[in-house]
């Protein structure tokens, strides 16, 4: 069973993938909730445009998204140059860039899930909270947020799963640098490009299946816990 032992390089790819996906999920969460809230509740000019932009990663080829990120966030890109010059943040060809690409690709899934759960919240409960003295921020934190928690968790899991599987946008934006930007998917791709790499690809494939399964079980379990707490009448 020697062929099952993972090499250091492979471990690095796995750790990197988990890190990139977790960071992408956590960092995009506040934005995801904010945008979902705006889309669910807001009434403003350009709402459908915002909705369209949020959904772009879902309909455009990932390579196109990667290329757009390169233009915008690359060292000479509009935003990338600004970040580099004033904040000292470089995204291109770094793992942070991979996290950005993964976050962007998972964003529409996260927003959709959270938005649906916000739309399902009974606004009469928020009204009642207001009459009890809770200001808008407290109403959100103590009533809306607990009630949408199942949707938020589902959205996070979806975004995480999407990030684990993301390939096209990442490789276009930050390339495939072992130890820096070579995620699990990219590592499997690399194995398939060299003679005799099939065994390595199989090892990583098994790992990918295990991680995906664990994430799925975790989400089911959390949904169960939350569902027990948030027993809707």
């Amino acid at each position: 069973m020697d062929w099952l032992v993972l090499s250091d390089e492979e471990w690095t790819a796995i750790r990197l993938s988990l890190k990139v996906s977790a960071v992408a999920m956590v960092v995009s969460l506040p934005f995801g909730i904010a945008v979902a809230y705006l889309l669910a509740r807001g009434r403003f000019w350009g709402k459908s445009i915002l909705n369209g932009i949020v959904h772009l990663p879902l309909i455009l080829p990932p390579v196109v998204i990667g290329f757009l990120l390169l233009i915008l966030f690359g060292r000479r890109g509009v935003i990338g140059a600004f970040l580099n010059e004033y904040l000292g943040i470089v995204l291109s060809f770094r793992w942070t860039g991979a996290a950005l690409a993964c976050g962007v690709m998972g964003f529409p899934l996260m927003v959709r899930s959270i938005r649906l759960s916000i739309e399902a919240v009974d606004r009469k409960l928020e009204e009642a909270a207001g009459t009890l003295g809770a200001g808008p921020a407290w109403v959100f934190l103590t009533v809306t947020l607990p009630l949408i928690l199942p949707g938020v968790i589902a959205g996070m899991i979806l975004a995480f799963a999407k990030a684990m599987g993301e390939f096209g946008a990442t490789i276009t934006f930050v390339s495939n640098i072992p130890g820096e930007t070579q995620t699990l998917s990219a590592a499997i791709y690399t194995f398939t490009q060299v003679p005799g790499g099939d065994v390595g690809a199989m090892r990583l494939t098994l790992v990918a299946i295990a991680i995906s399964f664990a994430a799925l079980l975790a989400s089911e379990f959390m949904a169960y816990l939350v569902g027990k707490r948030v027993h809707i009448e």
Binding site: A128, G133, G135
Partner: protein, 353 residues
């Protein structure tokens, strides 16, 4: 406490243009559905904003459209009990009750938690989830939650309308205790004559978005424009005896006494009875061999034809006034006239159920 409200709001074709003042106690907003009661109470709570209006509590202005003053709902400190309870499903009963206390100003002495729990009889429910409660229990918790937010005014929007008669009977005594044992003024919205007769100190009668009459329950509920089905006399008396085998209670009025089906009352307690005018017959001699338990002797104080062939007779029995609704033909046949001595045969005395 003085509450002054005046508001005008167009809601589609319906126009609400109403106002009233309250000096504490229980003020009932009474009227048929669609008369604008709920719209008015929502304006008071700050849940909606009128086109024109003014709302003052004591010297504090909470709403003044002319001077662009609008205090949002969470700063008004008015408790609101909704028709459907609206308990938070993700919190336990205890947490629901405590919700408003977190936001009550610390300088205010909040109502004592244990006292409210005891008053509403919800001690056994504290650790349960709202989803597992019955309709009546939910409503009691909702009332407790509103009270514990230390409100300056309690707004109750048809709190019993969604409940069946049995549940209503279960909650009404608690509401009476609430009225008698707490100092919080209440604005109580209802279309039920019996609830209003039982609870209110003052009645504001609304119709088509306007205030039609204001007064004590006995004044307003006997007005011709009160809901005809339920219009009638509201009398106050004391419970004299309780006949347990027959499940009856005897109520002493100013002159006569009447017997009512036992409605969980205590001897010596002060109660109000509602006698619908449609359930009163008039006889010129004391009838015999009737199943009716209550036959009151009195003299005719007024004869008021309503123009539809029906006549309202006001019969004075001591200090109490009983109303009867009979046909104009009966008035002619019995030769009823002012001052004539008659017997009011009362078919049902609703001791407010």
């Amino acid at each position: 406490m003085t509450l002054i409200v005046q508001a005008r709001q167009a809601l589609g074709e319906f126009v609400l243009d109403a106002g009233f003042t309250s000096d504490g106690g229980v003020t009932a907003l009474f009227g048929p559905s669609g008369s604008g009661k709920t719209s008015l109470v929502r304006l008071i709570a700050g849940l909606s904003k009128p086109d024109h209006g003014r709302l003052m509590i004591d010297d504090e202005v909470l709403l003044d459209t002319e001077n662009r003053i609008f205090v949002p709902k969470h700063r008004r400190r008015f408790g609101y009990v909704f028709q459907e309870g609206r308990l938070f499903p993700h919190l336990s009963v205890r947490q629901n009750l405590n919700y408003g206390r977190w936001f009550a100003p610390k300088t205010m002495q909040p109502e004592n938690f244990d006292r409210i729990v005891e008053l509403l009889g919800i001690g056994a429910l504290l650790d349960r989830r709202p989803g597992k409660l019955s309709g009546g229990e939910k409503q009691r918790v909702a009332i407790g939650r509103a009270l514990l937010s230390a409100p300056r005014l309690l707004l109750m929007d048809e709190p019993l309308a969604a409940l069946d008669d049995q549940r209503k009977a279960e909650i009404l005594p608690y509401l009476e205790r609430l009225r008698d044992e707490t100092s919080t003024p209440i604005v109580y919205v209802s279309h039920s004559v019996s609830e209003v007769a039982r609870l209110a100190d003052r009645v504001v009668m609304m119709k088509d978005g306007r205030v039609e009459a204001v007064g004590t329950p006995s004044e307003v509920l006997s007005l011709p424009s009160a809901d005809r089905r339920d219009a009638g006399a509201v009398l106050t008396g004391t419970v004299e005896t309780i006949d347990i085998p027959h499940w009856l209670a005897t109520i002493r009025l100013s002159q006569a006494q009447i017997v009512v089906p036992n409605a969980r009352v205590e001897e010596g307690g002060s109660v109000r009875v509602h006698i619908p005018e449609r359930d009163v017959m008039v006889a010129t001699q004391r009838p015999e061999g009737l199943s009716a338990l209550n036959i009151l002797e009195g003299e005719i104080a007024a004869i008021e034809p309503d123009g539809d062939g029906m006549v309202r007779i006001r019969i004075r029995c001591g200090d109490d006034m009983v109303l009867a609704r009979i046909t104009a033909l009966s008035v002619e046949r019995l030769e009823l006239k002012l001052g004539k001595s008659v017997f009011a045969v009362i078919k049902t005395v609703a001791l407010e159920r």
